[in-house]
């Protein structure tokens, strides 16, 4: 962010509306924990008393950064905004998914899980097209929380429930990847080999072969 976005004249134009404060999350760990920082870079906009307004997670180019910050300063597309809109339209699954994502970004995993599960229970056949996103997100959420067995369960559930989804291949590769993270070496190798058979044209095959080799050499 430093060399591209914060050094950009347009992006810096929002500096008139904000006080900028930089923190190395790996050094100032207690401060990072206070704001539930789970990925870098993360930019959290807070009120002077330290209460969070909302956050941007990941890299933003200057042309994305400025409108996103301006939205945030006007309480547009923030968690608070989505929660207000959800009060008005409680049946909106797209809003429900947005709220879940916001909670996930804040590392509020229980709240995120609750909203993802609501989407899955409300539209189990994925008629509105949000349930596959929700289930994939639940799997990743469990993976992030290092609940490896639960994560594998969710990715397997995905494969059974949404075989026609665009994310089917992703779910399939997350199974051995999660097993590898869980240090279940034999199962991970077996599942990676299965992936190669199921997806012989996958762009991930080179990466899969590398993981198998690493697992066999005991370097995972």
């Amino acid at each position: 962010m430093d060399s591209v976005t914060f050094e950009n004249r347009i992006a810096a134009s929002v500096s008139k509306s904000l006080i900028f404060s930089k923190h190395n999350g790996k050094v100032d760990t207690s401060f990072a924990r206070r704001y539930g920082i789970a990925a870098y870079p993360t930019m959290v906009v807070v009120k002077p008393n330290g209460d969070e307004v909302d956050r941007l997670v990941g890299f933003y180019r200057p042309e994305e950064f400025v409108p996103a910050i301006l939205d945030l300063l006007q309480d547009r597309n923030t968690l608070n905004d989505y929660l207000s809109r959800l009060m008005q339209y409680p049946g909106s699954l797209s809003l429900r998914l947005e709220v879940a994502e916001k909670y996930r970004n804040r590392s509020s995993l229980d709240e995120a899980r609750e909203h993802y599960e609501y989407v899955l229970e409300t539209d189990p056949d994925n008629g509105e097209g949000f349930s596959d996103d929700a289930l994939m997100a639940v799997g990743k959420l469990e993976l992030k929380a290092r609940n490896y067995d639960l994560a594998v369960e969710q990715f397997e559930r995905f494969k059974k429930t949404f075989p026609d989804s665009e994310m089917y291949e992703d779910a399939a590769i997350y199974v051995p990847y999660t097993l590898m993270r869980a240090e279940k070496v034999a199962e991970a190798i077996e599942q990676f080999e299965q992936f190669k058979k199921d997806f012989p044209d996958s762009e991930e095959l080179e990466w899969v072969d590398k993981q198998i080799q690493k697992l066999k050499e005991g370097n995972n």
Partner: protein, 62 residues
């Protein structure tokens, strides 16, 4: 003689013009560059005083 004076005046004008342009560019750059207040207590004090929000940029160098 007149020609020499004219040359010196021209050179002076060019020098003043270049220096002024450089100075203007420097001022412009400084006016939009982000000022970081990395101590959170100081950032809070400033935010209260200027009625602004604070952007906390969390980064990792690993």
């Amino acid at each position: 003689m007149l020609k020499s004076v004219f040359t010196v005046v021209c050179l002076c004008l060019i020098l003043v013009s270049v220096t002024s342009a450089q100075s203007r560019e420097k001022t412009d750059t400084e006016s939009w560059r982000i000022e970081w207040v990395n101590d959170f207590d100081s950032a809070q004090t400033l935010a209260y005083a200027e009625n602004k929000h604070i952007l906390l940029d969390f980064y990792s160098d690993t």
